[in-house]
């Protein structure tokens, strides 16, 4: 199992290798990609910040819960921090399971839960200014 916060590019294939095994008939990989727009504004780039000493244990908790809810699942999660350009991979959640239904369900639950409980924040550099994103809210920097 692999859970980490990294400063360089994430290769989703490496996480797939980490969860692959002969009993896994399905691997579902979610890759989150930096997109060029948000809230109707164009976005130039993002900065991510993490409380890494807490983020990694929180990811491990999510992985442990996935393994309880979907027996036979294996999980890997990686989140990147620092400056990310449009099109770069910011997060990968990868789940292997005996069959596709569990792999899809567990992977979706994994990324949804990561977005709620893992202490990582994005700062959005947009056409109309720079914002910290807090949950669903955007707070202007310096405001």
């Amino acid at each position: 199992m692999r859970y980490d916060v990294v400063t360089g590019p994430i290769d989703p294939r490496e996480l797939e290798s980490a969860v692959s095994h002969p009993g896994a008939g399905a691997i579902c990989t979610f890759s989150g990609i930096v997109r060029d727009n948000s809230r109707g504004q164009s976005v130039t780039h993002l900065d991510y910040e993490a409380y890494a000493e807490m983020a990694v244990p929180q990811m491990r908790k999510i992985g442990d819960e996935i393994k309880q809810r979907w027996p036979g699942a294996r999980v890997a999660m990686s989140h990147r921090t620092g400056h990310l350009e449009i099109g770069e991979v910011s997060v990968v959640v990868c789940v292997s399971a005996p069959h596709r239904e569990e792999a899809f369900a567990a992977c979706k639950w994994g990324i949804d839960t990561l977005k709620e409980s893992v202490p990582i924040w994005k700062k959005e550099h947009a056409a109309d200014g720079t914002y910290w994103i807090e949950g669903d809210a955007a707070k202007p920097v310096g405001g």
């Binding site: 990609i33 990324i111 202490p119 990582i120 924040w121 807090e134 949950g135």
Partner: protein, 85 residues
């Protein structure tokens, strides 16, 4: 007079910028709660937002505001998270 304990306080993201500091040692009374520690932080850094928009963490675990802090704890105050894409 109550004897003080020392906790290491960390701030992240917008709270780090509003506090103007990443990490500091704060002294609170024995028996102080996480809410008391945030109160002490707000006294030092008046720009910090109301507690309602903040989550408290003790030793890398989310904690209730009523939780007691003890000497040597690492406390963190964090805004709502926004990882992912």
């Amino acid at each position: 007079m109550a004897v003080a304990i020392a906790v290491r306080v960390r701030y992240f993201a917008r709270l780090r910028e509003l506090a103007g500091v990443e990490v500091e040692v704060t002294h609170v009374s024995i028996g102080a709660t996480l809410a008391d520690a945030y109160g002490a932080a707000q006294s030092k850094h008046p720009a910090l937002p109301p507690r309602e928009s903040v989550r408290g963490v003790i030793n890398q675990e989310f904690a209730d505001w009523s939780a007691t802090v003890i000497d040597g704890d690492e406390v963190a105050f964090i805004p709502p998270v926004s990882g992912g894409a």
